[in-house]
Symmetry: C2
């Protein structure tokens, strides 16, 4: 029977890059025996425009009952003045929270063909292949109290609270250690324990989990400010980095940019194992909704396409189909096609649709 897939293209460049995935799904359904029961829904600014909310409760329910969610991007700044609960971003934050998608896996992998697109020197970035595991349902993104209060004298105070509990730290640490075992067996845990007690607890709990359950994995600790520096100085020193929500947001974007191919990188966000043995999971590109180039047909669809490949591999257990897509993407790059974001001299510049069709042809 068919896998239930929920497609949420979102706003900005989301819908146009998702269109290229749709072509591939269509082709795979015809040629690879892929059976998907697909539902599409509006989220982000697209949902705000029609339904007045960034995501409807029905959509969250649909997501919960799906085998996987393929997400585009949200963040149209046109809504930013309307109110804090009308941010398009609420869509992704609610999905993460409601489905308990606590472990965001963000690979920062250099595509050899794209080494020239990196701002880093080739000798610094060559061979880069690290994975950031970011906690995504806790920390300062969700802690209470939060808000803006007006004081008696008319001035205001903005408040947010970072909270991490033992069990929140343990479960994301386990995801990182498990991943490391399939990679180079090294985990670097990142916090700011010299200033924040939540970071101190983070470090202690990761250390405990390591000692009890993963003594075979190599564990190190690093302060977040130092980690930002080390990522630039020598990113190849890392294998798996595990960190909280806010540091993970910044450090994973930084790490992706090192590869020079932000528009190429997919991510997966996993929930706990459910009663039926499956995990809720959401797949999305690392890039945002890029409102500045939305609608121009020039966005790079490869991160969205590779997110779909990750979905095939991890949620649907279709490694062969995933390989097929990933090989097609490398072949297209090797053939010299480039969207604007990864353009370099001597290559052929193409738009979203031509890039998508080239992958399909491969």
């Amino acid at each position: 029977d068919a896998y239930k897939l929920l497609v949420l293209a979102g706003d900005g460049i989301g819908p146009e890059v998702m269109r290229e995935v749709a072509r591939i799904v269509h082709w795979m359904s015809a040629h690879c025996g892929l059976k998907l029961d697909i539902t599409e829904e509006l989220v982000g600014a697209a949902s705000l425009a029609v339904h007045g909310v960034p995501i409807r409760d029905e959509v969250i329910e649909l997501a919960r009952q799906s085998d996987a969610v393929l997400f585009g991007s949200v963040g149209d700044p046109a809504w930013s003045h309307v109110g804090f609960d009308k941010r398009p971003e609420v869509a992704i934050l609610k999905l993460r929270k409601e489905l308990e998608l606590f472990a965001n896996l963000r690979p920062a992998k250099l595509f050899d063909a794209l080494i020239d697109a990196s701002a880093l020197k080739p000798e610094v970035v060559r061979g880069l292949d690290l994975m950031i595991v970011r906690e995504t349902v806790g920390g300062i993104y969700f802690g209470e109290p939060r808000g803006i209060e007006t004081l008696p004298d008319g001035s205001r105070r903005g408040i947010n609270t970072e909270v991490y509990t033992t069990s929140e730290i343990e479960r994301v640490a386990r995801v990182a250690f498990d991943l490391a075992r399939k990679r180079d067996n090294r985990v670097c845990s990142v916090e700011k324990c010299n200033v924040m007690e939540s970071g101190l607890l983070w470090k202690e709990v990761v250390t405990d989990v390591h000692k009890r359950e993963y003594p075979d994995v190599q564990l190190s600790h690093m302060l977040a400010d130092n980690c930002a520096m080390q990522l630039v100085r020598d990113p190849n020193q890392f294998d798996v980095i595990v960190t909280g929500n806010l540091f993970g947001d910044i450090l994973s974007d930084l790490a992706s940019m090192l590869t020079g191919s932000l528009g190429m990188l997919p991510s997966a966000t996993l929930g706990p194992v459910r009663a039926d043995g499956k995990r809720n999971a959401l797949y999305e590109p690392i890039h945002g909704s890029a409102p500045d180039i939305a609608g121009k047909g020039i966005a790079n669809p490869l991160a969205q396409i590779l997110s779909f490949a990750m979905l095939l591999r991890y949620s649907l257990n279709r490694a062969e189909d995933a390989d097929l897509i990933e090989t097609a993407v490398s072949n297209v790059l090797a053939s010299g096609l480039r969207t604007g974001d990864i353009m370099s001299p001597g290559m052929a510049r193409v738009g979203t649709e031509m890039m998508g069709q080239a992958v399909l042809r491969e």
Copy 2:
């Protein structure tokens, strides 16, 4: 009459790099009519070892009554297990808080002679000269409630609170706008307003101050995750960046590392203008206490020396003496001397003391 200078070398490489400043002070006292009334005190691990606390109240009082504080570095990890209030870092955090040193100015400037030491491609980093203004007495570093609590079931929760008030944001924004007017007249304000209300207030208040008092300066806004990426992709797009305590910690370290010469960069942290018309001010290198190389005589003393030059310029109004030191440093670099951190092929590797003496000779 003599200026009152408090020298706090701290731990790690602090004392050894400070020694090279002492030689310069000695020489300037003899040859440039510099009159300094110098007090030296222990802070960080050095104070913990002798007095059992990272900084004594008397030392904070001394700092308050000084014309300027020259700080080395603190952070010996040997104390990290002893307790959260015995961190060597408490010394710098208390000084900032008690003297209300709210605006940390961190230049990220490329020394042309060191362009090869950067991990970034020369064409990306050439000419880099940006200034990060980081708020240093508010935000999550100091907000209450904070701590680690044990729950009834034995599990624990780590908590920290980010708080920013209108007036805290206004005063640091003014420092940034004032600086921009003397530079390229552009300020980029960085927060995470799509997720945090404290960031939303930050953005609103900076926008208000701009409209009311600095309409002539160009103002833009950027999310912290995007800023980390843009710093790597194209750091030359920035002039002055203004941001909160935690983002400032990460982004300023990142920006310094881009120059490839972290060991070269000084910083100043300024308090409000006092009744006597002066400002409390603390000068310190951007680098940390580097415990891994402490005591080996190989640390780069140039950031500490340049911090002293900044002190001469901003707190003591001795621009000529500051110029003298800065020119000496460039000449030494041009002559090919390098400590290990900025070493490149064909240059002459020297230790802390030889580097210090070379500056003195110039």
